[in-house]
Amino acid sequence: MLFTAAIVFAIGLAVVITKKNLILMLIGVELMFNAVNINLLVFGNQFPNKADAQWMAVFVMLVAAAEVAIGLAIILKIREHFKSLDPEDIAELKD
């Protein structure tokens, strides 16, 4: 189960690195969150109080939900303004 989480984390990292689309990068971040959650639950079973890890996992999910809401709002605005979702096109500050 831990190995699955490691592989999913690596795939999420790959999605964030490779994709040319902001929404997909967001999905990659969510995949990494999922992998971390699995690890949290598996390691939490080692402790006497299992409720700790479970609440921690739920809190991670809630923060992820808040992050996605804000992220999508920003992405919609970016698409309106730049007519593109490619992060390479949004490098105005760099130039």
Binding site: F3, A6, N34
Partner: protein
């Protein structure tokens, strides 16, 4: 009987792990953003199924409600709202950039993680009852009350901020 149950559990874990990994891989290789979201859905359900085996039914329920019911629907709305299907400009198409570099990074990261994880020595599982939902609720309002309040505040803030950012400016 005990051994049979153990075997069935191992096989089920393997199946769900394969489901999770293949869904994530589909996200990586999908050519269209909508299909990538479907792959993400499969991966999320696989993760929920894996969480069942860690004695945390409450987390499984929240995973399905929050991720599948909330985040995925939000992402699909973002995909559908933001793309004009009549404009055949290929904005729904996606391509991978610098694929080989990232493949190398992924292989290195996953080998490193798997190696580190294989070094861990787990304690023997003590026979221990998983916390019931009642115990979880009691600990939520006793030891986690500050975290609960802060999270409620954070979610309210996210709600207001998302509405504010996404509104049409005049």
């Amino acid at each position: 009987m005990e051994i049979l149950l153990k075997n069935i559990e191992t096989i089920a874990i393997c199946i769900f792990a394969a489901l999770t990994v293949s869904g994530a891989l589909y996200v990586l290789f999908a050519k269209q953003i909508f299909y990538a979201a479907i792959g993400f859905l499969i991966s999320l359900l696989g993760v929920a199924a894996l969480m069942v085996f860690t004695d945390s039914e409450f987390v499984v329920a929240s995973q399905i409600v929050i991720y599948v019911g909330g985040i995925l629907v939000l992402l699909l709305f973002g995909i559908v709202l933001g793309n004009n299907p009549k404009a055949k400009d290929g904005s729904l198409e996606i391509e991978n950039r610098e694929f080989w570099m990232s493949a190398c990074i992924v292989l290195v990261v996953s080998f490193l993680l798997v190696f580190l994880l294989s070094q861990i020595k787990m304690k023997e599982q003590t026979v221990q009852l998983a916390p019931t939902v009642k115990q979880l609720g009691l600990s939520l309002v006793s030891s986690y009350s500050i975290a609960l309040e802060l999270l409620g505040f954070l979610l309210l803030l996210a709600l207001v901020a998302a509405t504010f950012i996404a509104k049409k400016d005049d």
